[in-house]
Subunit: 235 residues, 2 copies
């Protein structure tokens, strides 16, 4: 089960086929967006249970500073490996620990039209409350799969993906690499980067840096390379 | 005066010419990086005063969850309008309120080699502790000027900048706009965008969006357009 807080986030989960079992509502705290979205959430409950909470009680169960009065409990989604076209874009996260970064990458992947995200290793739980919040619910819009490393490598190879490792020690700037067709972007932790077996990719690309910053934030680097894929694939 | 926490952040301030008046240190809390950087900070103190604090006292003055034992008080920098080359890149922030976004944009601007950042209107204080932290000290590496709107518009015009408004309702994708020469990227708040007088720019560009996310984070959009300037200007 997972806990999904926020009207927008829960609506995105419902839009992706998630059916909440329980809904906790505090109308006093509703944002205008919550006001608008709650009827749809109540419909999605089916046989589930909606409970009204006092403001005090809601603030106790909420994980947010400014809750919008909407919280649901739902079974974890089990997204299937997606059917892919000639062009496909997948982002593979290896052991990223900061929920804010994972959520930000999923949000950008959604905006860039990515087909899926694959989460590997011991990193942030993609269905943890902080990832859901940071992604603004995009974790439900982009099929997000937790796979074993072997399984992920086999699937990428079988589907003919061009694997692209994003790593600061690459010799090639990201805009110089061919990023069309079926592309899987591989991202490692800010601290340790990608492990050796994931660096043996078809391409290794870096984001060139001119300033003093030690490294771009991993979510910023991911956004740049994701959108370079979109730029290169545009009609 | 400003309060600069963190060995890295304070070192970047010192590298930019800032001279701290006071230094508060808690060796028990030093990170390896702090260990390495503190001697340089002590040298930069000049006639200033270094005070050792107990762990308890340091944690009380610190604004961070995991302080590294280094905190300085210094006069606010007064960066001059920079001398500009044929190519120049400036980012103009209009009223951005979230310190995390302002800091993230400054960090990316530093990595992209931007010549300056201009902060307009009632937004986050660029020398507030949360911007300094989110920028990892890049606010000192990229000259960051707080200007009035008239003054900023006059300076941009006088210096022959091509102004580029980043706005979701633009008709042109950012990679289709000419972004070479002297370019000033104009960014508004996530909520209200840019005010009318700032939309009358030479170009208006948008980041195309394919997913459900309502909008890219403003710092992500800024990163994409900043690096498109770099891509178009490369040798």
């Amino acid at each position: 089960m997972m806990l999904v807080e926020g009207a927008r986030e829960l609506s995105r989960a419902v839009a992706a086929g998630v059916r909440p079992h329980e809904l906790y509502l505090c109308p006093e705290l509703f944002s205008p967006e919550a006001q608008e979205l709650v009827p749809g959430l109540e419909t999605a409950l089916g046989g589930g249970r909606a409970t009204l909470l006092s403001r005090l009680a809601f603030e106790k169960v909420s994980g947010r500073e400014n809750p919008d009065g909407v919280l649901g409990v739902a079974p974890l989604p089990v997204p299937a490996l997606p059917d892919l076209g000639r062009r496909a874009l997948v982002v593979v996260l290896h052991g990223l620990e900061k929920p804010g970064n994972v959520g930000a990458i999923l949000r950008t992947a959604d905006a860039a039209g990515a087909d899926a995200a694959v989460v590997l290793g011991r990193g942030a739980d993609p269905y943890g409350p902080n990832v859901i919040r940071a992604s603004q619910g995009s974790v439900f819009a982009v099929p997000t799969l937790a796979l074993g490393e072997e399984e992920a490598l086999a699937w990428l190879a079988e589907q003919g993906f061009r694997t692209v490792a994003c790593t600061p020690d690459a010799r090639q700037d990201y805009w110089d690499a061919p990023l069309t067709g079926r592309v899987a972007l591989l991202l490692g932790t800010e601290h340790a980067g990608l492990p050796p077996e994931w660096r043996r990719a078809h391409e290794a690309v870096r984001v060139p840096m001119h300033g003093q910053a030690d490294s771009l934030n991993v979510a910023t680097a991911a956004a740049l390379v994701l959108y370079e894929c979109v730029r290169q694939s545009r009609a």
